[in-house]
Amino acid sequence: MIKAILIFNNHGKPRLSKFYEHYTEDTEQQIIRETFHLVSKRDENVCNFLEGGMLIGGSDYKLIYRHYATLYFVFCVDSSESELGILDLIQVFVETLDKCFENVCELDLIFHVDKVHNILAEMVMGGMVLETNMNEIITQVDAQNKMEKSETFIFQSTRQDR
């Protein structure tokens, strides 16, 4: 299961944090700080996995992260997730963001937190991976965006016919 998804920039400013397990507000902030502390001091040429810090649950948990220019994408997962699988999931997430925002940048994440959350919700639901296909995720998100105009809209899924 995925326990938390964190995005912060090179200075440790949180850009998105989604916890699938309950922590207090303070703990969440501490986790973000600790994670940033752990991740930021790693070189570019080392592996993308880290053993979990103290706060988020110790040795059962793993941090899997990718660094894109100014942003760190960190997934905190337990032992039931595949490390490399999650690594590619981050890639799918970023590519999806890129498609949805047409060349995504840090500011998109700041100004459209709600949209990013919605995209994420189509990909990971309650800590479980729901969808890994970028096109399918975008279809769902678009369908919801169109809702604004027509409440009776029945959305189309690319896989609807199967």
Binding site: P14, L16, Y20, H22, E25, E28, N45, V46, C47, N48, F49, L50, E51, G52, G53, Y68, A69, T70, L71, S80, S82, E83, L84, G85, L87, D88, L89, Q91, E95, L97, D98, F101, N103, V104, C105, E106, L107, D108, I110, F111, V113, D114, H117, N118, A121, M125, G126, M128, V129, L130, T132, N133, Q140, Q144, M147, E148, F153, S157, R159, R162
Partner: protein
């Protein structure tokens, strides 16, 4: 692989200077959020940011509470609030508005509302109850988007108690025509399963339907559930193996639509999931594994593309191959894969390769040898994570021969250890290795010194605890003990003579205890020297007052002779007026005891550490006082949580069914043991309080607990011993210690570095892997080889032959167990039938008949009361059948276990004899017998071959049960055509719905080859449930004292007239409960879990259902019992 994100994100810095550039229109930099964000980026200090956000929150607060704010504006405000919260500022005033937005907004606003709710609130937040109706409404909406949103929020946060309210609606969605809805519904149900497994019990069939869904997406979602359930109970899902294999075959074969491909690999995440599931199913199961081999081979073959994601699949394959029953050609391929991983230049793959190697090495230590040079290289890898993983690997292959080198490597790493987490973990590991394999006293003490000084005060308290315990309890030989202690004393004295300022407090505490206790052993140092050193410690300003207490204690033990008394007086005068009460008390003690040496001898006797101290954990000596106080009108004691609860309840409705009865004597009910000391109290004894007496009490407390559990005293000790190091920490060499090691003491030689780096590495390799190759005696984690278990051996050898056990299950036995405990009268019939069904169907007409009963009831508690009457009438017949059976078999020289049942157990209720496993000519079967308050597990080993089987050893262990061997003669050799019987007594340690015993059978074939075989035996918790005969008054008193509770609604079984009475009687008969009383629409039942752990049940008819409320002092018990109740009633 595309790194699109990387490319685009680099454009950011230019965008950040918003003023100069309009930026893309989508950035809506004119909005209020835009202003806020711009404002924040311009700030320079944290303080300014705080002020700005506070102002922002004020303005949000004002606007949200204004009645004129439209939903559209509210949505915008909500986004701003989310932004503030994400920066760590609390905006609790908007929570209620978020819920309102979710309730009243249009779809898009609703979405923001739901999002805000799921970000702001948690499962236990009280406002969440207000959301339930909204969710209900949205789940019924015709708008699919709304349904989707509701399902999403449900899987993120939903109050556990309210699940029943929406469960039917979510279930309904499993049949929804849209796949996305079905998919989300499956995940929502999985979430329910995780937080309240009992409530989704009844829909397991629907999960199967989801697994067979025509849409692969829904099937994928259902795998989450299966992965979890199979991990918990692989036996229950073996029948699905074929389906999973088929699915995987189709996926690997590319039968899925093309849009499931990722980088042209078909549904990789799905494959990973399936491989995980298969490895759980095939674990220790040859038959299932055989089904899996082919598809594994196929997966390995197909996954040879050079992509990141295919490596993920390969890695899962490898893990699966090493988890299931081994097959040589697959193992070869897997080994090759691991080789590729480890040697890969890609650092992520190297990491995973090491992980895989660590895993594999537990089964095949030779793998480490193949890759030894790579491992050595990884030890020097610049990436700390890789280094750590390598150490983890080495930790697994440590044995008595290479422990010195490996521990040295670990300590070296620790010197530069980057973070607390790593330090704690490694320190524990070093301590564990040192305790297990220390080659000699000097090395052990020195390593532990390093552990203490590097681990410092962050390490877990059980390391110093178990170290001191080890010193005080000693080993086999008195002489050896004396040497160890003496060495410790010498080493500490010289340590204290050096620089002491940097030593962590917990190390100082250890030192003072050891010096106080054992410095009399040393002839080189007289007491006054030691006293003076301790005094010096007291004067240091770094010393904490807790440590000072320890030091004063030590001084109390040492102050002999005029010089000693003089120092003691001086010191005690300083501290006697301390502000710290504990410290003051120690000073008082020191003062008085130093003056009165006779009293001191009595209070602090020397070398009495081994006499067990009687501790009355029930505090029964206070009974008189308590009953006196109660009689005088004092209120009975209530634990804090209950007081709070009652306070809360007082405000609402009083649901408490029974008034408080008069005080009854505590001993009449078995609740006295609920405050039994846990291992935790041991640490508090050590750290909080340092009188010698209390310290010893601390050490002995676990002994008391053991006694309390009615096990052998030593059995427990063993478990404590094992537990401590597992969680332990890791040690490091402090500079001072190393000096000492090099100088005054001859440290165990470590490989001398030669100038050539390569030779150095080879040498290192040979010392690291020494002993790994030699034989299978490598001590793997989890099954330490006793020969090397030097430091612990002494304790493990227990007089009361307490075997540690464990085992697993056949579904048949499970079913039978249920039969057994629900209707004991039936058990004899069933037990015979199962045992004999295979071999002797034709034996007597009665046996097949009984057999039929058994089969039809398989898996479910027998439900029909009539049947139980019937079986009573059959009971007599059964004996005939039994004897007829054995006679008949005798003449055929067939081996029927039931005829070997020990005489004293014949005629008692017992379960069917279920086959466990076969190994060559040996057949194992087992049953459990109810002998009064004891549960006896009987294992039969029958040898059907013509030759004798030698050196039979049976090891049982279980996490949930305490298993004690009761048969006094342990049979080692079994002659041909005979049956050996082993008896074990079982007691529940940790209740679960079912409890399991795992076992290992090892024996020598006639040819001389050693063999081992694993098996397991499962029995339901109900086998351990007995009625608890108490009155309503006693019930009332006990009810208030129990802290763990579960409430749930169950189906009411209606027989026409008295549904409550009927249902309760049904439960009573099936589960062996005691029906205390039925009053109107309420009824109370009581039972106890062997030995003497009570559970109380209160039932009330409410809206056509049975509202049950269970309480018990044991955390898991109510939950398990409610599960069994549910099953009984569902049967009906």
């Amino acid at each position: 692989m595309s790194y699109v994100g990387e490319k685009t994100l680099t454009a950011l810095p230019s965008l950040l200077s918003l003023d100069s550039q309009p930026g893309p229109a989508k950035l809506s930099s004119t909005s209020k959020l835009g202003n806020l964000i711009r404002g924040i980026t311009e700030l320079t200090s944290k303080h300014e940011e705080e002020k700005l956000i506070q102002r922002e929150l004020e303005s949000i607060k004002e606007q949200v509470s204004s009645p004129n704010t439209s939903m559209r504006q509210m949505k915008e405000l909500m986004v701003r609030a989310i932004y503030c919260e994400s920066l760590g500022y609390e905006a609790s005033f908007v929570y209620i508005h978020a819920i309102k937005l979710a309730q009243q907004g249009t779809a898009l606003e609703k979405r923001v509302g739901y999002l805000a709710v799921s970000l702001f609130l948690n499962e236990s937040h009280e406002l969440l109850l207000l959301l339930v109706n909204t969710v209900l409404k949205d789940l019924q909406s015709t708008n699919l988007i709304e349904v989707c949103m509701a399902l999403t929020v449900v899987s993120q946060i939903f109050p556990k108690e309210m699940i029943p309210a929406i469960l039917p609606l979510v279930e309904e969605k499993l049949n929804h025509p849209k796949e996305i809805i079905r998919r989300k519904a499956v995940l929502a149900l999985y979430k329910f399963y995780l937080i309240a497994p009992n409530q989704v019990q009844h829909i397991h069939n629907k999960f199967r339907k989801a697994l067979c869904d025509k849409d692969p997406g829904v099937m994928t979602a259902s795998l989450h559930i299966y992965l979890q359930m199979i991990q918990e109970n692989p036996e229950g899902y073996k029948d699905l193996t074929g389906s999973f294999v088929n699915i995987l075959k189709q996926v690997v074969g590319g039968k899925l639509p093309i849009d499931f491909n990722y980088h042209s690999v078909p549904a990789p995440w799905l494959q990973i999931h399936l491989l995980r599931i298969l490895s759980f199913l095939g674990k220790n199961d040859l038959r299932t594994s055989e089904l899996i081999y082919e598809v594994l081979d196929e997966s390995l073959r197909r996954a040879e593309m050079n992509r990141n994601i295919t490596y993920a699949i390969l890695y899962e394959c490898v893990k699966c191959i090493y988890t299931i029953h081994p097959k040589s050609n697959l193992l070869e391929k897997a080994a090759k894969c691991i080789g590729n991983f480890v040697l890969s230049p890609d650092i992520n793959l190297k990491y995973l390769g090491l992980k895989a190697l660590t895993y594999v090495i537990q089964q095949d230590p030779k793998m480490a040898l193949q890759h030894q040079m790579t491992i050595i290289e990884c030890l020097d890898h610049p990436d700390l994570i890789i280094k750590r993983e390598t150490l983890e690997l080495l930790f697994r292959i440590t044995n008595a021969q290479n422990v010195v080198v490996i521990v040295e490597k670990m300590l070296e790493f620790l010197q530069n250890s980057p973070d607390d987490y790593t330090t704690i973990d490694l320190v524990g590991k070093v301590a564990e290795l040192a305790e297990k394999y220390a080659p000699d006293n000097e090395w052990f003490i020195e390593t532990m010194n390093t552990v203490f000084s590097l681990g410092g005060d962050t390490m877990q308290p059980d390391i110093p605890n178990s170290f001191l315990k080890l010193l005080s309890e000693g080993f086999d030989s008195v002489e050896e003990d004396r040497k160890l202690r003496l060495f410790a004393v010498d080493s500490y004295v010289s340590l204290l003579q050096g620089e002491t300022r940097k030593l962590p407090q917990c190390f100082l505490q250890v030192i003072s205890w050891v010096l106080g206790e054992y410095s009399h052993l040393s002839e080189d140092h007289n007491r006054s020297t030691v006293l003076r050193l301790l005094e010096k410690l007291l004067d240091m300003k770094q010393t904490s007052s807790e440590t000072k207490c320890w030091i004063l204690m030590a001084m109390t033990k040492l102050c002999e002779g005029t010089a000693g008394v003089c120092v003691a007086q001086q010191v005690s005068e300083t501290y006697i007026s301390s502000m710290d009460t504990v410290l003051r008390q120690r000073a008082q003690e020191l003062q008085h005891l130093s003056q009165d040496s006779e009293l001191r001898e009595e209070v602090l006797p020397r070398d009495s550490g081994l006499d067990p101290m009687e501790i009355d954990s029930s505090l029964s000596f206070l009974d008189e006082f308590v009953s006196g106080a109660l009689a005088a009108g004092a209120a009975p004691y209530k634990p804090p949580h209950q007081r709070q609860e009652e306070l809360a309840e007082a405000k609402v409705l009083s649901l408490e069914p029974y008034g408080l009865a008069l005080p009854i004597s505590m001993s009449s009910c078995s609740i006295t043991d609920r405050h039994s000391p846990t291992p935790l109290s041991m640490s508090s004894g050590l750290s909080g309080d340092s009188t010698d007496v209390s310290h010893r009490a601390g050490l002995k407390l676990d002994g008391v607990q053991r006694v309390w559990g009615r096990d052998g005293y030593l059995a427990k000790k063993e478990s404590v011993e094992e537990a401590a190091p597992v969680q332990g920490l890791t040690p490091v060499h402090s500079p001072s210690l190393q000096n000492e090691g090099d100088g005054s003491h001859s440290q165990t030689p470590t490989p001398t570095p030669t100038p050539e780096p390569d030779r150095e590495k080879e040498q290192l390799a040979s010392s690291l892997f020494f002993g790994v190759s030699s034989q299978s005696s490598v001590c793997l984690m989890g099954k330490p080889d006793s020969t090397f278990n030097r430091r612990r051996k002494a304790k493990v050898q227990a007089p009361g032959v307490t075997e540690q056990l464990s085992s697993s299950v056949a579904p048949v036995s499970n079913a039978v167990d249920n039969l057994l405990c629900n209707n004991l009268q039936d058990s004899n019939i069933n037990s015979v039938s199962a045992a004999s069904s295979k071999q002797t169907c034709e034996l007597s007409p009665r046996v097949p008949a009984a057999n039929g009963t058994c089969n039809t009831d398989c898996g479910l508690p027998e439900s029909d009361r009539k049947r139980s009457n019937l079986s009573i009438s059959r009971d007599n017949g059964l004996v005939d059948a039994d004897s007829a059976l054995s006679e008949d078999q005798g003449s055929r020289s067939d081996l029927c276990p039931s005829s070997y049942l020990p005489a004293e157990l014949c005629g008692l209720y017992r379960s069917e004899i279920a086959p466990l496993c076969t190994a060559h000519s040996l057949e194992l079967s087992a049953c459990h017998v109810h002998q009064g308050d004891d549960m006896i597990l009987i294992i039969f080993i029958s040898n059907s071959s013509d030759s004798q089987v030698l050196q039979i050893r049976l090891d049982l262990k279980s996490e949930q049960l305490k298993v004690t061997c009761v048969s006094d003669s342990s049979v080692e050799n079994i002659k041909s055509h005979t049956v050996a019987v082993y008896q074990y007594s079982l007691a529940v340690k940790r209740p679960g719905v079912d409890v399991e015993v795992d076992g290992t059978l090892s024996f020598l074939l006639p040819a001389g080859t050693p063999q081992t075989k694993h098996f397991s035996y499962k029995l339901p918790l109900t086998a351990f449930i007995r009625p608890l005969l108490i009155s309503t008054e006693e019930y009332g008193t006990m009810w208030l004292g129990f802290s763990h509770e579960v409430k749930q609604n169950l189906t009411l079984v209606d027989d026409g007239c008295e549904p409550l009475t009927f249902t309760l009687n049904l439960l009573k008969n099936r589960l062996q409960l005691h029906l205390v009383e039925i009053i109107g629409l309420e009824g109370i039942l009581a039972c106890r879990l062997l030995q003497n752990q009570p559970c109380l049940m209160h039932c009330r008819v409410h809206a056509g259902a049975l509202a049950v409320w269970l309480r018990s002092p044991v955390p898991e018990l109510p939950d398990c019992l409610v599960y069994h109740c549910q099953r009984v009633l569902q049967e009906k």
